[in-house]
Point group: C2
Chain length 437, copies 2
């Protein structure tokens, strides 16, 4: 039986997960692949460190050349993370004519043009299923399952930390800071949680999804990113009363010759499939012009779920080698020469429905003043709720307006004008609504 | 640009859907495939019949040889349904060395050994994504996304008609017969609904899922099949009060050297992801040893969703041809020689929890007599509810028992013994519970 040799950069949580899966499921993989998969070389900054798996049979080194210049290595797996060393390893492997598997969402999102440019130039394969929503094979669904469909819309819950926090806030009415602290204690959130809770991680994954869905390499820095730290239990409660739940969504869709690509807290109907995705779970809802609505659900992170996606990519590339081909499906779905340049629609041009929570004094004419300003800015109101009357005339009350579809720029302008009115007692909350046309 | 020629058997709803997708999305498919896909020949029993799509450019005939003996045809698509003609077309195409796409679940389930035997013998590819859960690329997830995972369990809602009826019964408290009649009016159910509502259609799909997950060809006739026609609004209401919903589930799992493969109405926790799958939608919940829980959701039927799956398979086979290979991934996940013979666990050996609804007279000692019989048969009770007391001593009341895990044979034996007791006033209802270990 033939052996396929894998060179592994990075022996962290996922790297050790991959070694453990390949070892534990060796018989299964042999039966499916018709060959043996072995990690023969690993490169790490700290070869002496104790790992969660035994490294027997693996030659461990600090020197990237032990993999990149080794003619015996058939497939290179990059799991070091970051965008400096990782980039040189991935490009180095491609330049050496070796196919690559990576879970590195930052690298693929921020350096899409360079990495995929090289992949297309060399006509090699790159597997990156693990970079988006860990154990969920959503990239394969896009590349293969929906290969005959125009993708209308991608809406993902792709950051487990944020979803865990919002689910917990919704279930228990606890404020953001408190749930975050608990998530940090449980290991669901990093000590510096910015990357997860402010939407950067979700934006990386969105860039990859959009690039694959539309055969493009968008400018990552142009993705609108807004996190969940300003969401309050008050908003969650009022939204729920109006039939919505709050989720951090990554949204991508084609809009003429441009794409919408944005990450922000979003209200969705409590009846929508995504509303039932709770805790650390991820889900990606994709609409195609033929299949209509589809959703993939599962664990977005963890050594074994992410390791499983890496292993499935290694098997895929090994199947290429056994079939004697370099690639079967182009890396970004479209063949060489068909990649498009699509720019990202700036957020102020977005059209959406909005949840707006105002803090106002309970006086006659307040609503009229606000709606007049909004009307002047082309915003019409779908519904209004004032959950409670003030006990004392000087106590602020909450007024919630749900708008019809309006332009982001117009909404922001109205809010600036309304903020100047003398009955406004505090900052106004804005949450976009996704209505899934 | 190269052209890949497709020969199509069957010009029904799905066949016309495929023609329409290939035509409408021709530019997209060219960009993704790097070739043109054209249906050049079609075979149908009734070439003169008016279709929902124009057949310009397609040579339509009654004669299978116009496709099977045509050296210009690269890929054969079988969409006639049934297991007689369809079988000869599929085997004929394989014998002619042509790869095949089919949506024919009956054929693949009932003649698995013969069809897949021929596919493995000829080392050709067969695409059958459309045979299970229409637009949901769940077969690809099993073959590729979870290629490094042992599949622990497959639990599917794979019959849209039954799910529509149960959802409607749950939402409105309407009896089965009434909802069925409405579904027939709306075209969601056939005039003879047996195939859908008695579990045969779901069992076909289950056979295919199990065969792919475990690299086997199980005996279809051994799958336990029980439909939804005896489910009442009363059961749905009581189940709901106890935290469950009723779904027609197709369940497959490895059990030692055998497989469980069964279709029956099932109670699942209202918090489970599958509980939120309503209406005609399908979903398949799969647990792997590394990825843990995953779910794929979408439309299970319809010209375009099913057509989209057929087109994705045509594209997949076309990519093989463009790469100069006959196959990349074996038809049932495992390589030649690795197919296993797995027998199906008979239903009486099943261990499960049970919902049992008894109709009894409201007398002292009734519960003691019943639980004594159950205890003697190794069945212990998890909970008991008697929703209402009788107005008159001779009016029957309902008693619901939820059992701990018990053997099916023991439960059936207890029910036969209990049926003989003189306080039993009507037939006892039994619904299995899936607890997702």
């Amino acid at each position: 039986m033939r052996t396929i040799n894998v060179g592994l950069f990075g022996l962290g949580v996922v790297g050790c997960g991959v070694i453990s899966i390949l070892r534990r499921n060796r018989g299964l993989i042999r039966a499916r692949l018709g060959a043996d998969l072995r990690v023969t070389h690993a490169v790490t900054a700290n070869p002496k460190k104790k790992r969660s798996v035994a490294l027997r049979g693996i030659s461990v080194s600090k020197d990237p050349a032990t993999i990149l210049s080794n003619p015996g290595i058939d497939i290179v797996v990059e799991l070091v993370g970051g965008t400096t060393h990782a980039k040189s390893y991935v490009l180095g492997a491609l330049d050496a004519g070796k196919p690559v598997v990576t879970a590195n969402k930052a690298l693929l999102a921020e350096h899409a043009r360079e990495i995929f440019g090289r992949v297309y130039e060399k006509e090699l394969s790159i597997g990156f299923e693990a970079s988006v929503a860990g154990g969920i094979p959503v990239l394969r669904s896009l590349k293969e399952g929906l290969s005959g469909d125009h993708i209308r819309e991608i809406v993902g819950i792709v950051n487990g930390t944020s979803n865990y926090i919002l689910s917990k806030m919704s279930a228990e009415g606890t404020p953001f800071a408190e749930v975050l602290a608990e998530a940090q204690r449980l290991g669901y959130a990093e000590r510096d949680p910015t990357f997860d809770v402010e939407g950067h991680d979700a934006a990386h994954k969105l860039a990859i999804l959009v690039n694959l869905a539309y055969g493009t390499t968008i400018d990552y820095s142009k993705i609108y990113k807004e996190g969940i730290s300003r969401i309050t239990p008050t908003d969650i409660t009022y939204a729920r009363q109006m039939g919505y739940v709050v989720k951090l969504l990554a949204i991508g869709k084609l809009s003429g010759q441009r794409v919408e690509a944005r990450v922000h807290p979003t209200l969705i109907s409590v009846d929508h499939q995504l509303a039932a995705v709770n805790g650390v779970f991820n889900a990606v809802f994709i609409t195609g012009d033929n299949v209509d609505a589809t959703m993939s659900y599962g664990r977005g992170a963890g050594a074994l779920p992410t390791g499983s996606a890496v292993v499935s990519d290694i098997i895929d590339l090994a199947r290429n080698q056994l079939a004697g081909i370099q690639q079967k499906i182009p890396a970004l779905s479209v063949t060489k020469g068909e990649l498009r340049n699509l720019s990202v629609v700036p957020i102020h041009e977005l059209e959406s429905e909005y949840y707006l929570r105002f803090q106002v004094l309970d006086r006659v004419g307040v609503l009229a003043s606000m709606t007049k300003i909004m009307g002047n800015n082309n915003i019409s109101i779908q519904s209004m709720v004032q959950p409670a009357q003030a006990d004392h005339p000087e106590d602020p009350v909450q007024v919630i307006l749900i708008t019809h579809r309006a332009r982001d720029r117009d909404v922001q302008k109205s809010l600036r004008q309304i903020a100047k009115l003398n009955f406004i007692t505090g900052p106004t909350q804005l949450i976009r609504i996704e209505s899934f046309e």
